[in-house]
Amino acid sequence: MLLIDCPWCGPRDENEFQYGGEAHIARPKDPALLSDAQWADYLFMRGNPKGRHRERWMHRSGCRRWFNVERDTVSHAITAVYRMGEAPPATAKPAATGDATSAEPRSSGDPGQWPAGGAE
């Protein structure tokens, strides 16, 4: 069970929150220019790193605000909490874990960087 530090309400139990998936996935400015593969990549493909992961949470049973959390997907340690629209803390840069199978988190908003068929 996680103890999540809501930017407004302070530390609260995980079951007050709703998970919102990977953060910082920017919607393409002009979707009409994308191929189906690029659009599908934007819609469905996520980084799934082993290690630090920036993700969105919403305080569903509390103040109902969305915010960002940086969480280690191995240890569940939460290393940063920051509001929507704020830049991720520089000190909390997602780090490669040294595991060859772990991909760097994708630079979102750059659809089409994966080859068709998926390298993973």
Binding site: R12, S61, G62, C63
Partner: protein, 208 residues
């Protein structure tokens, strides 16, 4: 809008009249601590939204309500007759005396006309369970993940959280302690019965 003749969600309930028909006679010990439960029926409720950073908005609300909105997260301001509870950085719940919500809404709307703000009457969405007595905190602690220790949570504090898995707006009114639980109408009967059951070991009595 609360109609004076309307039945509140918990009309007819008392700690000794359980919905499940179980024997619910008041245990001994009432009056020597224990827990007191009552419904504050038909309290008027308005959701007020606006820009807390706009001094004009804050002044207009102060003019209409007679007190400042709470700007710190999870706090309350005002008095028993009219209370403002912080729900979000741009959202408050204004609780009024039964029947006073329409006049309060009108005065807020007049004061806020021309501003990017909204006032919505949500009086019938929730009802209020008032829980007091020396063991009120112990009862809540059985089902609420919030730290209610007086060091952390005291009079004037508000929390939106879960009590027995039901979403509530929790407001500590005074030090005795007295808590107001704003619960959605359809959950009120369930939460009432859960509270009676949780409070039974301390002795539970009907309040005013």
């Amino acid at each position: 809008m609360a109609d004076p003749s309307a039945l509140s969600p918990l009309a007819g309930r008392s700690p000794s009249s359980r919905a499940d028909g179980a024997a619910g006679a008041l245990p001994p010990g009432v009056g020597q601590g224990g827990v007191v439960m009552a419904e504050r029926a038909l309290v008027g409720k308005l959701v007020l939204r606006g820009d807390a950073d706009d001094a004009g908005f804050r002044d207009a609300v102060r003019g209409a309500l007679g007190f400042d909105l709470p700007l710190a997260a999870n706090t309350a301001s005002g008095a028993e007759s009219t209370t403002a509870l912080w729900l979000g950085p741009n959202e408050w719940l204004v609780a009024t005396a039964p029947g006073a919500e329409t006049a309060a809404a009108v005065s807020l709307k007049v004061a806020l006309s021309g501003r990017h703000a909204s006032v919505t009457d949500v009086s019938d969405s929730r009802t209020v369970i008032r829980l007091s007595g020396a063991n009120a905190r112990d009862v809540l602690a059985k089902g609420c993940p919030i730290d209610l220790h007086p060091r952390v949570f005291g009079p004037g504090r508000v929390a939106q959280s879960l009590v027995a898995r039901a979403g509530v707006i929790l407001h500590q009114v005074d030090e005795s302690p007295t808590f107001d639980l704003y619960v959605v109408a359809s959950f009120a009967g369930y939460l009432w019965d859960w509270l009676v059951d949780a409070a039974a070991e301390f002795g539970v009595a009907a309040g005013r």
